[in-house]
Structure formats: structure tokens, C-alpha cells
Symmetry: C2
Subunit: 152 residues, 2 copies
């Protein structure tokens, strides 16, 4: 069951400049950053709020790190903007299987590695009203504000 | 101060069909629906989760009700997909003024009427990395699940 808006994925050409825009304009700070080699992106997660399922909602700022990544191709076609949305679930495997059974194309056979140790998959935007839709199961403890304070 | 992802606005050609997609695929239900004549849209709000600022996060599904509405023009150019994102704040007037002072174009001189009695404004997407960005102050009590149960 999908229980939260986990994040909004925003594609940009210059991650550092975009992080600075969100910090200086709104006061949003980087909660986590990493390079996802498989997805071909460098990313920053800005934690916006906690959610009542025990998770959180983020902005995920994405800069491609290679020209053949899907985000690089998307940017070349569309320019900067909202690339995808993501719903959080406790069980991405079960939800992906259920949604696949309803005839929506799930892009991966098995969930892959997402931000902060999460497991993710994507649904085909042509089956979702033009919206590239991600399903995410967070790693245990990844979302909690106190986790960052106590673990680092 | 912006304290939550309030909603993701998704533009569609057929609201009823899109509501049915989100219901049958994910189990999301319509929390509220209305026509906003000023914006030229018919909309459905799907409540996804509560947020730790006392608000909630929604999907806002938007169908234009006239051809000269901004959403109709956007759909003609882009096709269906994510139209805008919205951040929630307790004081849209103060945040809009502060953000305008930083050189970001705010589209309205004064906030206008949004979903469920909220007050909203928009920031120019060209000043926000290609993201049409809305600021929202909810009407008192609009978000709480118990409010719907007790007030109706």
C-alpha cells in the first residue's frame, strides 16, 4: 500500500546551483547526497516534512553524470523541471507485483537501489497519464530526523 | 516558512478517467472536488498522507474547463503530466513577499483562491529551474482527516 508522497524528482543541469536556489529561496537544506551510478545521476535529497506513516517527503534534485543516462536524455528533450514523482510503501515488491497485475508496465523485474539505501522501481509514464511514477521502500530508519542526529 | 509538500498538480484531459486510474491502481480516493472558475479547472484532491506540520499532502488532478485556461494551454503544448508542485506555509503573504524580495517573480499581486478555501500564489517557472511552484496556505481545519468526518 502506498502511504506517502516520498519525493518529487527534479532534473537539473547544475546540481550545486539548484541546491543553492532551494536553500537561498526557501531555506531547504540538503539532508543527504550521493551518486547513483546505476541511474547515472548525482543527487541531493532535501527533506521537506515528516509524514504520518513514519516516513518523510523530500525534493530529489538530479543532475546526470553521463550523457547516456535517462535523466540526461530527458533533460535534452524537456529542459529542467519535474522528472518524476515517488510514492512510499512498506513493501515495494508486493505493490509492484499488484500494479503489474493490473496491466501497468513496471520498468524493472526486481527493485533496484535508490536514495539512502532504498529499494525502488518505476512505472511506465505512458500507463500513468504522462507521469513517470516511482515506488520506494525506504531503508529502516532512513527518514527519521533523530536518525541523522544519532547516527552521524 | 514552507513546511510541507502540499500537493503535486497533475494536468489531464479527462478528470473522471484519471481519478479512476488513481483509485483502481493505487487505492487513492477523492478527498475533495471542485471547479475553480478563476483558474479554469475542474479538480480532484486525493489525500495521500498527513504531514508533521498538521497539514497533509495531496495529488491534485486538474482538467481544464475552458480552452483559454493556462492548464488547457499547457496540456496542448506538453500533453498530460506533472503541471506544478506546491509547498504549504502558514503565511503565504509573508513567504510570497520574502521570495519576491529575492528576485523570484511572483505571478499574483495578492494570493488568490485555491482548493478547499486555501489562499495560493505561483512563482514563475523560469525563475525556479523549470518548475511551476505554488505556495499554499490552507483554510483552517481543511487538512485533518477527522475534520471531514466531524464537519460533514
Amino acid at each position: 500500500m502506498l502511504t506517502r508522497i516520498d519525493h518529487i524528482g527534479i532534473a537539473c543541469f547544475d546540481l550545486d546551483r539548484t541546491v543553492e536556489f532551494y536553500r537561498s529561496t526557501y531555506g531547504f537544506e540538503v539532508f543527504h547526497s550521493e551518486v547513483n551510478e546505476e541511474q547515472g545521476v548525482r543527487e541531493a535529497m532535501l527533506r521537506i516534512n515528516g509524514t504520518d506513516d513514519g516516513g518523510a517527503s523530500y525534493l530529489q534534485l538530479l543532475e546526470p553524470v553521463r550523457e547516456d543516462s535517462t535523466v540526461a536524455k530527458w533533460l535534452a528533450k524537456n529542459g529542467e523541471g519535474v522528472h518524476h514523482i515517488a510514492f512510499g510503501t512498506a513493501d515495494v515488491d508486493a505493490d509492484a507485483a499488484e500494479i503489474r497485475g493490473k496491466g501497468v508496465r513496471v520498468l524493472y523485474d526486481e527493485p533496484r537501489k535508490g536514495s539512502m539505501g532504498s529499494r525502488i522501481t518505476f512505472l511506465h509514464p505512458k500507463d500513468c497519464g504522462g507521469v513517470l511514477t516511482e515506488l520506494v521502500t525506504a531503508a529502516t530508519g532512513a527518514h527519521a530526523e533523530h536518525a541523522e542526529q544519532t547516527e552521524h
